[in-house]
């Protein structure tokens, strides 16, 4: 799995590529923690190229989500599809995660609310 960051005005978009499994999900967690230290306040996690996620990956997302929520910052997860979406549905977390359809929608949601 590899992670790329890009910026859209004040919003940082993390493009995740590959599989988020028990061996590499910690990388996303570490990256977000680092970005929080650097005072980033608006996060979009783009899951467009993620075809596989397991409980560790979801755990990482939960951790990121609750940390950001506690700090009153903003996070949107977008482009979840296929089995990734299915797993999140099975775990009943669809209402818990802040979700948008596309990166553009996510950016819009973050900047308007």
């Amino acid at each position: 799995m590899d992670l790329k960051i890009r910026k859209h005005s004040e919003t940082y978009i993390i493009d995740v590529n590959g599989e988020m499994d028990l061996y590499n999900s910690y990388k996303l967690k570490e990256l977000v923690m680092k970005m929080l230290e650097k005072k980033v306040e608006q996060f979009v996690i783009n899951m467009e190229n993620v075809d596989y996620i397991d409980s560790s990956g979801i755990g990482a997302l939960i951790y990121i989500c609750s940390t950001i929520k506690k700090m009153n910052l903003k996070l949107i997860i977008c482009n979840i599809h296929g089995s990734v979406k299915k797993v999140i549905e099975l775990t009943k977390l669809m209402g818990y995660f802040p979700i948008a359809g596309t990166v553009d929608e996510a950016i819009q949601k973050i900047t308007t609310v």
């Binding site: 799995m1 590899d2 590529n17 590959g18 599989e19 075809d51 596989y52």
Partner: protein, 657 residues
Amino acid sequence: MAQFFQTILVNPLWAKWIAVFAFYLFTRNLSLERSLLVLDDFRRLVLVLFFSDALWAILGFSGLLAFQLPLMILQQVFATGVYLSILTRYTKQNYLSLAFLLVNAVVFLAALAAAFLSFPWYANYLDSMVIIFDWAYVGYNYYQVSQYNTPKSGVLIAARGTLIKLTITIQVIIAVLIPWGGYQNLAVQTLLIPITYLVNGWVLSFWERWNYKKIVHQQNVVKKDLAAQYDFMTKIGTAITEKLDIDQVLDFVVKSAVKVASADGGAIFLVDEFDDVLRVKAVEGDFPPPYEVPEKVKLKIATLTNYLTATPIPLGKTVVGECAASGKTLYIRDSKNDPRMVHNSRLDQLFVSSIVLTPLMQGKKVFGVLAVVSKKSTHLFTKEQMEQIKTFGDYTSLTINSLYTYLQLLEKQEMEREVGIAAEIQGQLLPSHVPQIASISLAAYSLPAKGVSGDYYDIINIRKGQVLLTVCDVAGKGVPASLVMVMIRTIIHLVAHQPTMTVSRILDIVNWGIAGRISLDRFATVAMLTYDFSSHRLEYSNAAHHPLLVFRAESQTFESFDTEGIPIGLERKTRYTQINTTLNIGDILILYTDGIIEAMDERGNQYTLESLQKVIQEHSGEPPEKLKKLIIADVDRFVGKAKQHDDQTFVLMRVEH
């Protein structure tokens, strides 16, 4: 003589008969193709008029003038009877009530009596009274007909006014003229009575014109229909060839359906692939959900549409489910008072005044429903529009069915193509023949379980006097696994020839080359050995594969060699180790994959390593080619009729010199 002719020529009967004849000609010209069912009734009327007039003439000539009256009464009774039977055709009720028959019978008998006895003064009045009574009776029943209680009553309602009023007026005039002779009056006989006959002809022609107009209207509708349908079919055909998208086709269908029926909204529902529910797949215009909707959803149109799209309808529930469950078109022309329509009050925001639902089917399977709605109580769908929607539904069913079949075939083809590609790649990988090398003899066998093998083996002359054997079992299937195999083979071939290369080092490099790639089925177990002909030295390394089995000719026993290590592709930095030994003449070694050891018989028992060892031990004198055949035969014998569930591969080597 002259008087005889005069009587005949001046006879008012002519007028009557001309009228009857004209009437007859008219009925004759109407062909059955115009399907005028009442024609039979009018033909009967012609006959009644003709024969009764003939009788009347005979009576007249015979001087039995008095009997002409009861005959007239009879004629009128039959005439009104014909009109009553016409009415019965529409209302299916019997009008020959007791009262009617009784009155007419009494008057007829009275008239008959009057004929036998002297002709009393009331006789003529009797006739007129009963005729007016009969026509009033007919008129009364005709006026009972309304569009609500009688189907197809349009023509009756349109005709009755003129018919009743005209006939009664004429009869009243005749009655009034009684003091001037009544029926014996020449004017009455020449003019008024023939006119009553012509009135019948006029009524018939009215029927005929009405029917004709209806047919022409239908033809026009059908023509417009056909044009619209042809247009529809061409568009659908084009849409499909441009893009195989069922959603687009459905969108087009619902748009066309709404347009053709002048509907306010339309929707297409499809049966879910797994659950017994219908889901909205296409919507056009304003299509209110045919079930109760929570108040806060009704507030915004966007939320209403979302609600409609998100809510599945169980089969059999609501009019939509009913249509799907029955497989029949459901046409509710007027939702008022229909309990199936949930929103049938005009005050309801989700009001639907009229709805047509037609199923999308193939044979006996229903896979969807097409529905159009009208929200205006002034515009209710006509039967023609319903038929059109039905035709749309039929054509859409055919189209979508072909589409589904085509898509399924494509999917299957894709799968088969992938297997074909993978098999082709594989064909390139495996050695085409076992090389002939001086001091050893070799045999190799590989049989895939299903089309594409996850096994790879290779025999390489790495340098003068050294050979490399390897067997590899890739986890995963299809093209991705084949690509991994290509990578493994390429790397091995690239590095194996280098002078300082050892088997463990080759495995390190192969592993390093494969691991870390994203989203590939990249794991494999590998067993690899090199053998030097002059020193007889064997070096063996494996990555989580089965141990190397060596049969020692001298001791006639087996030795196995194994090294520690996880499969390749898991961790980049894995280091593999190797183990060495020396071979002697006659020693046999075998590298194999799971498929041999775990081959199962019908009861689930596995072949096991022991069985393999047994075959080798018992036939250790045989050359590898023969041994290979013996092993295969033994495995086949064991497996019997059970299906092969895993790829089977092995490589045999025997030291000859």
